[in-house]
């Protein structure tokens, strides 16, 4: 009989992705491109919100969008009408993007001269929360019809994002959605989180969202410690 040995590997499967994400983040910092990772369930209004966001900010910064979907290019076509630079990424059945796929997406998009790149992640509240994409900041959209109990069901997602956009507030009267309860549930998981109620349809709240984003992009891109000159 062969002699065998046990070899310890002790490697976290996600660790490799975390390292790649850190590297990508530092490269983006040097290039002065702010990357926002936008996550949500399917149908929460990511693309409509993005269109609003682009119109609110496109005169002051160069914006690039990466649309990640399992298939199709309907979202990319919608976005392209705004005039923003956009590419469609197909994850081919994968339910999330990792740092390596994000890097490939950014290469496809071309980050030179782009101040704000937005990754529209695959519509899913589970797996995207597990994988650091290398984004500067993470945001999610929770729409009113989904219910204010989502933080209880998907705690990880709500604990890793910097901001939650509560979308479709124009439909609030038709649903039993309590914004105060939501805020309480969310801040229990993530004390530093910002909650911004919006309606991508009517435009309500978009100013506040654009202000937040503008501030973050400015802070990221102005930081002088990485200045190359």
């Amino acid at each position: 009989m062969d002699t065998y040995k046990i070899i310890e590997i002790k490697e976290s499967v996600f660790e490799d992705n975390n390292q790649r994400a850190e590297l990508l983040r530092s490269e983006l910092k040097k290039e002065r491109t702010f990357l926002l990772n936008l996550m949500s369930s399917p149908g929460s209004g990511k693309t409509t919100t993005l269109v609003r966001t682009i119109y609110a900010l496109k005169d002051e910064m160069a914006i690039g969008i990466m649309e990640a979907d399992i298939d199709s290019d309907v979202d990319a076509r919608t976005i392209s009408k705004t005039g923003a630079k956009v590419i469609q990424l197909h994850t081919g059945g994968m339910c999330h993007l990792d740092a390596e796929m994000t890097r490939q997406g950014l290469e496809g998009l071309g980050t030179q001269g782009i101040d704000l790149a937005i990754l529209e992640n695959v519509g899913n509240l589970v797996c995207p929360a597990e994988f650091d994409t290398g984004a500067s900041k993470n945001a999610m959209i929770l729409s009113v019809p989904e219910g204010d109990d989502k933080p209880l069901k998907y705690p990880l997602m709500f604990s890793i994002v910097d901001v939650v956009l509560v979308n479709k507030i124009d439909a609030m009267e038709f649903f039993d959605f309590n914004l105060d309860v939501l805020k309480e549930r969310v801040s229990k998981l993530n004390p530093g989180i910002k909650v911004i109620p919006i309606s991508a349809k009517t435009g309500e709240g978009i100013d506040q969202w654009a202000d937040w984003l503008r501030g973050e992009v400015k802070m990221w891109n102005n930081n002088s410690d990485c200045r190359s000159l």
């Binding site: 002699t3 040995k5 590997i9 499967v13 994968m94 339910c95 797996c127």
Partner: protein, 113 residues
């Protein structure tokens, strides 16, 4: 159903490890999965045979150790299994535990010849 992509990654990592360490035959691959990890052992097991086909791990057995989801109570410091006690401390009944483990997904070791 994201296990397939993750298992492909695990198999590649182990193949690289084997190549770099002069391991020719791997008898068993041992993974550790936390009870709260979004990676589901049953799905890992079901896609594993497909993923290892034509790789160095084709004849390698898969063993999965599930790690319990443990937390420490922020109020009385008791350490307890959150799934067993539904996130509420069995001693002081405070519902504010701090997670210690349960989210892991690790390649623990290989048994090699």
């Amino acid at each position: 159903m994201h296990e397939m992509g993750i298992v492909i990654k695990v198999v590649k990592t182990v193949e690289d490890f084997a190549r770099n360490n002069g391991v020719t035959r791997i008898d068993t691959l041992v993974l550790q999965i936390g009870a709260l990890s979004p990676v589901i052992p049953r799905y890992v097991e079901s896609c594993y045979p497909m993923v290892v086909k034509n790789t160095r791990l084709e004849d390698t057995r898969l063993q999965i150790d599930v790690l319990p989801a443990m937390a420490r109570c922020r109020a009385c410091r008791e350490v307890f299994d959150v799934l067993e006690h539904k996130s509420s401390c069995p001693v002081c009944h405070s519902g504010n535990p701090e997670m210690i483990s349960g989210n892991e997904f690790m390649i623990k070791e290989i048994v090699a010849f």
